[in-house]
């Protein structure tokens, strides 16, 4: 009984992730066809080495941001400030390291700065009821200025091998940035899925007022998600700064908030809030980075970069579009893919037609399906 439950859960999870996984594998196959050797992974200097590893390492900042962004978007919010928070945290990290503070102190201080930035957004959204896109736009604009003030307008460099490990070191052969985003994803994922947090976040995203009337502490949840987003931006800032051994207030994390939003959308989480999947968003981040790295190894002239990226993304999004699922429904032979039980059939129908996603969660809320 236990095993069938678990295998059922895994199948359901895989089915949810199928479009993202298919897209990722298709892209990897395409790149390998263009430049063979893309998939080869070797061990060099005691660490894994290869283009595929590059994808995992370079995806780290966006992957971290995606974890926070998924939660924020699930509450029907958006966090535009994270790119600027990266710049602030990078600047703080570089100046502290350059001043010779111990590594632990730097990590704690930078995480705290990220947390404060997240809380600032949370206060604007949760207590002043400013729309998230505007509330976080404030820090997006001001943040780079703050970072400039900290670095005094220069690229603040440092020479500290201990700190550089965060960006380019390896632990047991696996690059540290990869470990960081995997650990963060696992931690936040378990936190929201093994407790009622995730469920309550979805409820808040679907209808904040209804959730509050039902006794959900929506304000607390909003504070939580923006705080997570800020902390994840702080970690991304640490990685980016440690990677180049310097803080570039102008360019660190520039436009990464948009990549994070894109990763969440590729992951199938609706910008209308409600149901979310951190795993799917992380795969979305990997898809984006695979395209980036693939373009670099393919040898196309740089003028094509953005066009290639946009074309692949539009294909991925079209394949996921609810309208396409609806059209495909007409061509499905009757009886094929019949559900085993009515409940899972309803889920699948909801999966295909993304528009009903929120309704589905709403129904399960009212019937107390998950709560039991």
């Amino acid at each position: 009984m236990q095993t069938t439950l678990i295998s059922g859960a895994i199948t359901r999870k895989l089915r949810r992730l199928a479009p993202q996984l298919a897209a990722l594998f298709a892209i990897l196959a395409l790149i390998t066809a263009i430049s063979p050797g893309f998939l080869s992974v070797t061990v060099q200097n005691g660490r894994l080495y290869g283009s595929l590893i590059d994808v995992l390492v370079r995806a780290a900042p966006v992957a971290l941001l995606t974890i926070g962004m998924t939660l924020v978007i699930a509450t029907r919010g958006i966090d535009l400030s994270i790119g600027a928070v990266i710049a602030i945290c990078g600047a703080v990290a570089a100046s502290l390291v350059a001043d010779g503070y111990p590594l632990v102190a730097v990590l704690v201080a930078v995480t705290a700065v990220g947390l404060v930035c997240g809380l600032w957004n949370a206060v604007l959204v949760a207590f002043l009821d400013i729309q998230p896109i505007i509330a976080t736009l404030i820090l997006m604009v001001a943040g780079r200025g703050i970072a400039q003030l900290i670095t005094e307008g220069v690229i603040l460099t440092f020479n500290n091998d201990d700190f550089a490990v965060i960006g380019s070191g390896a632990l047991g052969g696996i690059p540290v940035p990869v470990l960081l985003w995997l650990a963060a994803g696992l931690l936040v994922g378990l936190l929201v899925r093994r407790t009622a947090l995730g469920f309550l976040i979805e409820a808040t995203g679907i209808n904040r007022r209804a959730a509050m009337l039902a006794g959900v502490q929506a304000r607390f949840l909003l504070i939580f998600v923006y705080a997570v987003s800020g902390v994840m931006a702080a970690l991304a800032g640490l990685i980016i700064t440690a990677d180049i051994r310097g803080a570039d207030a102008n360019n660190a994390g520039l436009w990464l908030e948009l990549d994070a939003i894109l990763a969440v959308v590729i992951g199938g989480t609706s910008l209308n809030g409600g149901r979310f999947s951190i795993t799917a968003s992380l795969i979305g981040a990997l898809i984006i980075q695979s395209i980036n790295t693939g373009i670099l190894v393919s040898g196309f002239p740089p003028e094509f970069n953005l066009i290639i990226k946009a074309s692949i993304i539009i294909v991925v999004l079209t394949l996921q579009s609810p309208a396409l699922g609806f059209i495909a429904g007409f061509f499905r032979p009757p009886g094929a893919g019949q559900p085993i039980g009515t409940a899972s059939g309803e889920h699948r129908a909801a999966d295909k037609a993304g528009t009903t996603r929120t309704d589905r969660t709403a129904t399960s809320l009212s019937t107390g399906e998950r709560a039991s």
């Binding site: 430049s35 050797g37 060099q44 200097n45 080495y49 290869g50 283009s51 590059d54 370079r58 307008g153 220069v154 690229i155 460099t157 380019s168 980016i240 990677d243 180049i244 051994r245 310097g246 570039d248 102008n250 360019n251 660190a252 980036n292 790295t293 670099l296 190894v297 040898g299 002239p301 740089p302 003028e303 970069n305």
Partner: protein, 319 residues
Amino acid sequence: MRQVLATIAVAFTLSLASSVSAQSLTVGFSQIGSESGWRAAETTVTKQEAEKRGITLKFADAQQKQENQIKAVRGFIAQGVDAILIAPVVATGWDAVLKEAKEEKIPVILLDRQIDAPDSLYLTAVTSDQVHEGKVAGDWLVKDVGAKDCKVVELQGTTGSSPAINRKKGFEEAIASHANIKIVRSQTGDFTRTKGKEVMESFIKAEGGGKGICAVYAHNDDMAVGAIQAIKEAGLKPGTDIKVVSIDAVPDIFKAMAAGEANATVELTPNMAGPAFEILATYLKDKKEPKKWVQTESKLYTAKDDPMKVYEAKKGLGY
């Protein structure tokens, strides 16, 4: 060493000569802003050059906005300055305000960038030649590799930006007649360290672990610094296994050069004001119109030029 001393000596005599001729001039300087380290250095050097000559410099930071620059220039005209320096943020829209300056007989000198306006409206433009910068970098590589085969990877600036286009063009011109030097890969690193490192990583992997790459040409030093880190992390020695040549001459590249990790850099001098003040002094004395374009020197620095000393000299300029 002797060369450096000679340059200093020349600069010193020049400054002495001009401080005699320019009797307490007042010059207005409308700067774009401080978007990059180079820009900050240009501001610092301009202030230094003015002070050296006993010129009173009125400084206005436009924060990347042309309307602020136009306002600043009008302010300078109202104050009746002796001359105006403009580092124009965009190429168009200057005609009206330049005419106002001309009516008041105030000479205007453009720094660092050209504009789309009749050249009768300004005295001269002091800029670098970006194609020439690329050519100097290419010439260095041609001389350095001699007859050996050399596969070059190129880190371009932001796609479509004029320094990226021109520095690519100049480098290609320099290596065009040398069949042994070939650009095998070229991608944009957006002028940043992070992207420079990321692109170099993928180049190294795409070229069989970097063994086949003989040199990397970066359109600016920041990307070169990123590339150096990527080369090191791939287990190769930058400067020896893969030569590194770039443009700009910001302080950090001299640190790399001192460590033997970078080979050459071409200077985009932040001292545009020095030549401008010289031209101004001559013009005010002789009333003879100078050439409409004055090209600054694109000086090549290699490990022979005592990189640590240059680093110390440049460190305080605000890069």
